[in-house]
């Protein structure tokens, strides 16, 4: 079985794709395993999704680095499947194709006004704060958040948004947050954040540890102004005990949690955005005003063409929906790798396709290697500002120029 030498192409170098490569290579040491990535840089949400102040969670990159340097898995960056190589060409060249492209777009609220300019997706915002390379979309969101922000959603992503806006310069020390984006958004000008969630406090999806981090913010007061009759559970206890502590400095940010509250419609009144809400148990609707409304209600496919997985495997969010972080996607990757192995062993999948050699001529002029990524990696770390662990390059052109310095011409 270890004699099996299939050619495997994985599309996407986020955690799901990388874990899948890792599991496959471990079971099939002689297989050719290639991970394609559209960006010049690897790691997907590990780099652009996990919050800039949660560096610890990003350290799984050490596993993937090992895999790409001495583990026999090949990284091919700056190569977009569907553009540089068609999916059909890839399927013709590789025995196994695994789609690991994730879900790049923010789900909309699905209510009137959800497309107003003041309504911003959390994924978009976090990506920008994580230094995602310049694109038309990213620039469009860089307007000051204003003084009052509403965040709709009760998951960990919503909590990341609140925390990153509310953290002071000192609290962001050691992160690799994109300071230009922070300044353009004027995060320090935000005075109040209202977090709206449909579920009760007991059923709110955020991890308790995330709520705890917010309660421990040095320059914010965290409250739950309207508590349901049954305000119970660990999250409720945490909020209550936090409210009981009163020693806070003046001029702090207010963070208010509103549970069992459903957004009904969004409108604008002059320069103000108005979110109309329905509180469980209340007949009348009520309004909340803000300057920016950030939606953190999940992810879905972007408007660009997404690769359909017919005749190939898929792994991670593109397969299961936007659920779970690193650990869950590792489990998914293990499952998919097992399925592939089973299909290879049973003969359901035949091998013999050429692999990379069949398509490399199409991308030789643009593909970047892992070694080239490491040049940029060191460059970003080297150029870190004080209090930052790196300064991410936010322009694709600059990335590529750092990775491939101009060849010196003979005189």
């Amino acid at each position: 079985m270890s004699e099996l030498t299939p050619t495997v192409a994985i599309i996407g170098s986020g955690p799901a794709g990388c874990y899948c490569a890792q599991f496959l290579k471990k079971s099939l040491p002689s297989a050719e395993v290639i991970v394609f990535e559209a960006l010049p840089v690897p790691y997907g949400l590990l780099r652009y999704g996990i919050a800039a102040d949660h560096q610890g969670s990003k350290n799984i990159s050490a596993q993937f680095e090992r895999m790409f340097t001495r583990g026999g898995v090949c990284f091919i960056g700056n190569t977009e499947i569907g553009k540089d190589i068609s999916l059909d060409e890839l399927k013709a060249a590789f025995d196994v194709v695994v789609v690991a492209t994730g879900l790049s777009a923010d789900r909309k609220l699905g209510i009137t006004g959800d497309d107003l300019i003041s309504v911003v997706g959390a994924g978009q915002l976090l990506r920008t704060l994580n230094g995602y390379p310049d694109s038309d979309h990213a620039l469009g969101y860089l307007r000051p958040l204003g003084q009052r922000v509403v965040v709709v959603g009760n998951g960990n992503v919503a909590m990341d948004v609140v925390r990153l806006i509310a953290k002071s310069e000192e609290e962001l020390s050691g992160s690799d947050i994109n300071d230009e984006a922070r300044q353009a958004l004027c995060t320090s000008g935000v005075r109040r954040i209202d977090v709206i969630g449909r579920s009760s406090v007991e059923q709110a999806k955020f991890d308790l540890a995330m709520l705890r981090e917010i309660c421990h913010l040095k320059h914010a007061i965290v409250r739950c102004p309207v508590k349901a009759a049954t305000f119970t559970g660990p999250a409720a206890d945490l909020l209550l005990s936090n409210e009981a502590t009163t020693n806070r400095a003046r001029d702090v940010m207010e963070i208010n949690f509103h549970f069992s509250t459903t957004p009904v419609l969004i409108s604008s009144d002059n320069q103000t955005t108005v979110l109309t809400l329905k509180q469980d148990g209340e007949e009348n609707l009520h309004d909340i005003c803000c300057d920016t409304l950030i939606t953190a209600v999940g992810f879905c496919h972007g408007s660009g063409h997404s690769l359909t997985a017919t005749g190939s495997y898929s792994v991670g969010w593109v397969r299961r929906g936007p659920k779970g972080t690193v650990a869950e996607n590792r489990r998914d990757a293990a499952e998919v790798a097992d399925e592939i192995l089973g299909d290879l062993r049973s003969g359901r999948l035949i091998t013999g396709k050429t692999g990379l050699k069949a398509v490399e001529h199409k991308i030789a002029h643009k593909a970047v290697s892992f070694t080239q990524w490491k040049i940029l990696d060191r460059h970003e770390i080297h150029h870190a500002a004080p209090g930052r662990c790196r300064k991410k390059t936010t322009s694709l052109t600059e990335m590529l120029s750092v990775m491939a310095p101009p060849v010196l011409l003979p005189e």
Partner: protein, 146 residues
């Protein structure tokens, strides 16, 4: 023979365990790594010296793959007198429940009569040191340069 029994969720503890095996083996010691989710707790009583290695998740809990190991240990409650164990934990001091999982395991093992040997090692993801480096350094101190 040193047996490293690891509980992993992200693969970090597994990588640390494998690197520890490599370092110990290179130093001439017999070492092997096995995952908690495939290890039978009934065999623990027969072990000479084990190294328990796990990360911490959620509210100070063991990873999903390791939780059954802990639960089985409690249920089966074997007499571990004569069994030596060392412990290495992976955690993140950003969180209050820093390295709680390995600590719970240490307590349980001691309650069951096992003898903890040497200093426990802790990797802190909030610090810029690699898991491999920390795990190997600790193993060197505990078993090679002891």
């Amino acid at each position: 023979m040193l047996k490293i029994i690891f509980g992993t969720e992200s693969g970090n503890a597994e990588m640390g365990a494998e690197d520890m095996v490599t370092a110990l083996t290179e130093a001439g010691l017999e070492a092997v790594a096995v995952a908690m989710d495939v290890y039978d707790v009934e065999e623990l009583a027969d072990e000479e010296h084990i190294i328990l290695m796990t990360s911490t998740y959620g509210e100070g809990e063991l990873p999903m793959t390791a939780a059954p190991f802990y639960e089985n240990l409690k249920t089966v409650s074997p007499d571990l007198k004569g069994v030596k164990f060392s412990a290495f934990g992976l955690g993140d001091s950003t969180y209050e429940t820093y390295n709680q999982a390995i600590k719970s395991l240490m307590v349980l093992m001691t309650e069951l009569g096992a003898e903890q040997v040497g200093e426990p090692g802790f990797h802190d993801a909030a610090l810029p040191y690699s898991i491999s480096d920390m795990a190997v350094c600790w193993a060197n101190r505990q078993f090679i340069f002891a």
